[in-house]
């Protein structure tokens, strides 16, 4: 099982905010899924190396030369808010934090 506090903590880590009426659903759904995943404990994995990456080559090399990618103008095409050719975001250091 996974507790309501754990769910809220994980949401905080993931930069997600759950509505009050969503929290209970998440607790029960994620609880069932994590319970299912807990069956892994029954597998003996002593001395088994984990597989984190796939692919048949370790490293591929290319010539060390510059390549043309996107321009600044292109990169800005999708920016929701900008000013003076810079990305605009709200306050980073909160005034309320000082109070």
């Amino acid at each position: 099982m996974i507790s309501k506090d754990e769910i809220l903590h994980v949401a905080e880590l993931a930069n997600l905010k759950l509505k009050n009426d969503e929290v209970d659903d998440f607790v029960s759904q994620l609880g069932r899924i994590v319970d299912m995943e807990s069956n892994l404990a029954s597998v003996n994995t002593d001395g088994v190396e984990p597989t984190y990456n796939m692919g048949d080559t370790n490293t591929t090399f290319r010539e060390d030369k510059g390549i043309r990618t996107q321009t600044r103008e292109q990169m800005f095409e999708n920016v929701p808010e900008s000013e003076d050719n810079l990305i605009k975001v709200p306050t980073i250091v909160d005034k309320e934090d000082d109070e």
């Binding site: 996974i2 754990e6 769910i7 994980v10 949401a11 880590l13 993931a14 930069n15 997600l16 905010k17 759950l18 969503e22 998440f26 759904q29 994620l30 069932r32 899924i33 994590v34 299912m36 995943e37 807990s38 069956n39 892994l40 404990a41 597998v43 994995t45 088994v48 190396e49 984990p50 597989t51 984190y52 990456n53 796939m54 692919g55 048949d56 080559t57 490293t59 591929t60 290319r62 990618t69 996107q70 292109q74 990169m75 095409e77 999708n78 920016v79 929701p80 808010e81 990305i87 975001v89 709200p90 306050t91 980073i92 909160d94 309320e96």
Partner: protein, 485 residues
């Protein structure tokens, strides 16, 4: 143009003989789509410039097999100047400034990107119901799901809107919808196809593949999109064969393994009947069939949902409302901007996966979940590898059920996850795998899954082609479409 009775070969012949221009073909495709989309809704975005693109191909002249032919592209494959959303609100307005390598290769071969197909949000799902842009309907029964996550691509092909489509497959997202729609679909070996420009879900599992009614058409397309790409260091430098030219339906001496765990107790008995009959067909064609066991298989879903969710939680951190996509309004500070943009922009299934992954990677759970799952994955790869030492192919059903009703499973995530039990193994082991139609069960299509050794896509194409030439399933017209005429 209605593609139900066409193939890449038949279209190429007409184009090369100038019986039709690419512009006319594209025009007719768009007209036919307009009609069918009312019932199917396979596309999120239609390419407004498709006719212009076709004119350019006409001017340059028809050369290769795909030249001048419209192809559908799953909407998690970025397309320069054509909206790409991954079926998510958080990317509802995203306009890529470059194209994925697979799309560049298709366009270099003269293919026309006709539009971007619907899918489960960020490819997380098995029914295309998690799309922000609404449901896609199965052409065999409009009340049923097309499967997922490449449900739009599958339905577009099955309904004859296009001759072939690109999909992606992280845990079965090409094979399951292929099975549900009565078409062929192949997920190549991990590393066979570049992932550059494919919106990442789980980077150690994701792979781009092809869906078409006929096996030989997917063979043609895969040869074009496969190969090393310096933008994707996991893409293999192995030479790409001409799968189409090498097609060989001789099954004499081909060694087939059938894992008894694939004959899952929860599987629809009508599906089992179909799959057993298909395997008998291979025996009659001269193949040998051995029953084998893959004991770790019973943990496949557990391993997959830990690893795929963990990788997803990391990959999806980039969506924060700052540089592109949906940005939440009325926020006080930067933290609110991140949290509100994500909370309003992601659907429930995405939140569940991010939460699961964040949990599995968090201090205290990492060893018991993430590391443990990665270790069981190793056991799994070894088991599958051992079976493939003595066998050329592994076969079994692609799915445990045929397409289910829209709305039936969407409220029960665990039941939805269990859909993937038969397709996940190939992703965990990085093996090439496909689904090929065998027939109908209760009026809905059934798919046989064929898995091969790494980089032996040819063996899959050959076996699928051999079965196709026996059952000619591509001649069947989806039931719900018949009602329309």
């Amino acid at each position: 143009m209605n593609y139900l009775n066409e193939s890449i070969d038949s279209l190429h012949k007409k184009l090369a003989a100038k019986e039709i221009t690419s512009k006319e073909l594209t025009d007719q495709t768009l007209n036919d789509m307009k009609d069918k989309e009312k019932d199917i809704s396979a596309f999120i975005t239609v390419n407004d410039n498709a006719v212009k693109d076709a004119e350019k191909v006409d001017q340059a002249g028809i050369n290769g097999p795909l030249s001048g032919i419209p192809i559908a592209i799953k909407d998690n494959i970025v397309s320069n100047g054509i909206k790409t959303t991954a079926a998510s609100k958080i990317l509802y307005n995203f306009m890529p400034v470059y194209s994925a390598t697979v799309l560049e290769k298709l366009e270099a071969a003269g293919a026309i990107n006709i539009g971007k197909t619907n899918m489960d949000e960020f490819a997380m799902g098995s029914s295309t119901e998690t799309s922000f842009f609404g449901d896609t309907h199965n052409p065999w029964d409009f009340e049923k799901v097309p499967g997922g996550s490449s449900g739009g691509s599958a339905a577009a092909v099955a309904s004859g809107e296009v001759v072939a489509a690109l999909g992606t497959d992280t845990g079965g997202s090409i094979r399951q919808p292929a099975a549900f729609n009565g078409i062929f679909g192949i997920k190549p070996t991990y590393g066979r196809v570049s992932r550059w420009g494919v919106i990442a879900f789980a980077s150690s599992l994701d792979q781009v593949g092809v869906m078409s009614k006929r096996v030989e058409d997917s063979a043609t397309v895969l040869s074009i999109i496969a190969g090393h790409d310096e933008h994707d260091s996991t893409s293999s430098e192995k030479e790409v064969p001409d799968y189409r030219a090498n097609l060989n339906k001789d099954m004499t001496g081909v060694r087939i393994a059938v894992p008894k765990e694939f004959w899952h107790e929860g599987t629809n008995p009508e599906i089992i009947k179909q799959i057993n009959a298909a395997i008998d067909t291979y025996k009659e064609m001269g193949a040998t069939v051995d029953e084998v066991s893959l004991p770790a298989l019973k943990h496949a879903v557990e391993v997959y949902y830990v690893l795929a969710s963990s990788e997803a939680s990391s990959n999806l951190q980039r969506y924060d409302g700052v540089r592109y996509g949906f940005r939440a309004k009325d926020v006080k500070n930067i933290k609110d901007l991140f949290v509100n943009s994500r909370s309003e922009g992601f659907g429930d299934e995405i939140k569940r996966r991010i939460m699961l992954g964040t949990f599995a990677l968090s201090a205290g759970a990492y060893d018991a979940y993430f590391k443990k799952a990665a270790q069981v994955r190793t056991l799994f790869i070894e088991e599958m590898g051992k079976v493939l030492e003595d066998h050329d192919l592994i076969m079994g059903p692609s799915t445990t059920s045929t397409a289910f009703k829209i709305g039936d499973k969407i409220d029960d995530p665990l039941a939805m996850y269990m859909n993937d039990i038969l397709t996940i193994p190939a992703n965990l082991a990085g093996l090439p795998a496909a689904s090929v139609p065998t027939g109908l069960a209760d009026g809905m299509p059934v798919g046989l899954q064929i898995i091969a050794k790494p980089f032996n896509e040819q063996a899959i194409f050959n076996a699928a082609y051999a079965l196709q030439e026996q059952n000619k399933f591509y001649e069947q017209i989806p039931t719900a479409l018949k009602g329309e005429d």
